[in-house]
């Protein structure tokens, strides 16, 4: 399988009134064709910036620094005009957090769907597309306005729109965060099964570790604008190498036993204004050593994962 996405040492800053804020501080990630990759991180970790950078959709106050971002063999950074639109319309498909807000409130669903399909697509094509995303009642839904749909139905419509042009990669940014808990599972399942059926790669952004564990082959954990641990999902979650991954797993409620305690990570996530000179997680880390604050850790390969930590070698998991 070929690399569909290749990101290496990508740096992105945002200009703000209070000066520059660094969103990506040397992020690296590769996605192969048809692969499902999870991107985990808290708000401010840079995962949304990374996702938007894939389609060159960053807001105007963003500044691309050093590093490379290749999608399907072309450098996204230099794309302009028709080539950029082609990347967005044919190579990539986006699914966003608020499904009702991403649909035009003044247009019926059928018209919005027809607009993203090939010219000449008729009502039958719209119906079959809706049926594909599990909407049985497609006549009624095609005639509906977005506000008349439930969040779950609207997200199915958005997924249909993202898949309409048969893209190579779907980028889903917290696709279930605004939905009711009881239907999150089915929306994720739908997304994963459709991607599998079309051979489409998936980049799934979430702060919900369980969702990532459920859906993705590989996971990239982000902190302070860097991908601090990248590896096979099951292995990373079973035996995390990076202390942040470990701490994150312990902090999420749900996996503890009755009467057990979850262990919060002390302190707050960092806001970087420039290149981090040490490890960004150092102030909150239980395993920190003197070197962590002084030297910037580089990526190393440990047990088939990429880990950015000074102590990665000593934390190597026991061989299976």
């Amino acid at each position: 399988m070929n690399a569909l996405v290749a990101i290496s040492d990508l740096v992105v800053d945002f200009r703000t009134r209070q000066g520059p804020v660094r969103a990506l501080d040397g992020a690296s990630l590769a996605v192969r064709e048809g692969e499902k990759v999870g991107l985990v991180g808290e708000s401010g970790s840079g995962k949304s910036t990374l996702a938007m950078a894939l389609g060159r959709l960053l807001p105007p106050n963003a500044e691309w620094g050093s590093g490379e971002l290749m999608v399907a063999g072309v450098s996204v950074r230099d794309l302009e005009g028709a080539a950029l639109r082609r990347l967005r319309s044919h190579t990539l498909g986006y699914v966003f957090q608020d499904p009702i807000g991403t649909l035009d409130p003044t247009m019926r669903v059928a018209r919005q769907l027809a607009a993203v399909m090939e010219a000449g697509a008729g009502a039958a094509d719209v119906s079959s597309l809706l049926a594909d995303v599990g909407l049985q009642d497609h006549h009624r839904i095609a005639r509906s306005y977005p506000h008349e749909l439930s969040g779950g139905m609207a997200q199915r419509v958005s997924i249909a729109m993202a898949l309409a042009a048969n893209p190579k990669l779907i980028v889903a940014d917290e696709p279930t965060a605004s939905l009711d808990a009881s239907i999150r599972g089915q929306i994720l399942d739908l997304l994963v099964s459709l991607c599998a059926a079309h051979g489409t790669a998936l980049v799934l952004l979430s702060h919900d570790l369980r969702a990532i564990a459920h859906c993705c082959d590989r996971v990239a954990v982000m902190y302070g604008g860097r991908t601090v641990e990248v590896g096979a999902t099951a292995e990373v979650f079973a035996e995390p190498v990076h202390p942040y991954t470990e701490a994150l797993l312990r902090a999420a409620p749900g996996q503890e036993r009755l009467g057990g305690r979850i262990e919060p990570i002390p302190g707050l996530p960092p806001i970087l204004t420039g290149r981090a000179e040490g490890c960004a997680f150092e102030p909150r880390c239980r395993h920190r050593i003197d070197a962590c604050a002084l030297a910037r850790p580089e990526s190393s390969e440990i047990a088939a994962r990429q880990v950015i930590c000074h102590r990665a070698e000593e934390r190597r998991p026991a061989a299976p």
Binding site: E42, S43, D137, R140, I141, S150, G152, M153, R156, D180, A181, S182, I183, R184, G185, Q186, H207, L209, R210, A211, A213, H214, A247, L248, A251, A252, P253, G254, E256, R257, L258, R261, I262, E263, P264, I265, P266, L268, P269
Partner: protein, 314 residues
């Protein structure tokens, strides 16, 4: 339920909703009964529109029930504000709106004391500082404005303000939902510690079963304004009895459960019979016609005709 600090007895809440030309009557709560004892945390879980926030507001006296009774500390709820100053408190959802943006943090924390008329100026300042320290903040933050604080810090301040009068009853409505995972855990542990220390009765409302299960002793599950299951936290670490509870569990644990796949139906709430029928994986004709009553099953109360799942139907 004896010894309850707050008790709802068969509370119904109706209100008119929508514009004049599409006015509907909405049943926000139907026959809701629950009680919270001192030192106990009752979890209330359900998705948007389930009536959990309405129930919380009834407990706080912000909404008067259409029918049914609210009992506070053994007496019918006294809706005159003087009667309950300092006895009730709330921590709500939005960190960006939890504090008045025009007031110093310290002023906001001290406000319940000032309203209740407890202590002089010096005493108030001392208690504000102490309270900030107890929620893990530096007392110097009292001189800051809310916009200078992070979301997690603002929720800590909101908790400090809620507890400063030593209330008997505190409602936490989606108090951690807007926070990041690592900060969420800090606040959940803080709530647990403070309750063990201060012994107030707490109602913890959330759509996140995992968070509710972590802080609560007992859990009430609501759907479409009704209580569908009431169980101990211990029970819900295992398998829930109501299909809706199992749907929530499947979502939070992402487990495969044939009886837990709730549909995303277009008309979500049935007008007759069990309200979950259109979405329920194990619904039968009985469910479509007859409304299930809340009945005991072991140490659990459940409103379902088939609490044992598909296997139990045979």
């Amino acid at each position: 339920m004896t010894g309850s600090v707050v008790e709802l007895r068969s509370v119904d809440v109706h209100f008119a909703s929508g514009p004049l030309w599409a006015r509907r009557r909405v049943h926000a709560a139907r026959e809701v009964s629950l009680g919270v004892a001192a030192g106990e945390t009752l979890g209330l879980v359900g998705e948007s529109g389930s009536g959990k926030t309405t129930t919380g507001k009834v407990c706080l006296g912000l909404i008067r029930p259409t029918t049914g009774d609210v009992v506070f500390d053994g007496h019918p709820f006294d809706y005159r504000r003087r009667a309950r100053r300092g006895a009730l408190a709330a921590v709500l959802q939005h960190p960006q709106w939890s504090l008045n943006p025009r007031l110093h943090v310290g002023t906001s924390v001290a406000e319940p004391l000032v309203i209740a008329g407890i202590g002089g100026r010096e005493e108030t300042r001392r208690q504000t500082g102490e309270m900030l320290e107890r929620v893990g903040l530096q007392p110097v933050l009292a001189k800051r404005y809310p916009h200078e604080l992070s979301g997690g810090q603002r929720q800590r301040v909101a908790i400090a303000r809620a507890l400063i009068t030593h209330p008997k009853f505190v409602v936490f409505d989606e108090a951690v939902s807007a926070l990041d995972v690592s900060v969420q855990a800090q606040i959940l542990n803080l709530i647990r510690e403070l309750q063990a220390e201060a012994g107030f009765a707490a109602l913890f409302i959330s759509h996140d079963l995992a968070a509710v299960r972590y802080v609560a002793d007992r859990i009430v599950v609501m759907y479409a304004g009704e209580v569908v299951e009431s169980a101990t936290a211990e029970t819900l670490y295992g398998r829930g009895r109501h299909p809706y509870t199992r749907g929530l569990q499947a979502a939070s644990d992402l487990i495969e459960d044939e009886d837990a796949r709730l549909a995303d139906a277009s008309e979500e709430i049935a007008s007759e019979g069990c309200p979950l029928t259109p979405r329920c994986p194990i619904a039968t004709d009985l469910c479509r016609t007859t409304h299930p009553a809340l009945r005991p099953l072991g140490d659990t109360l459940v409103a379902c005709h088939h609490p044992e799942g598909r296997a139990g139907q045979s």
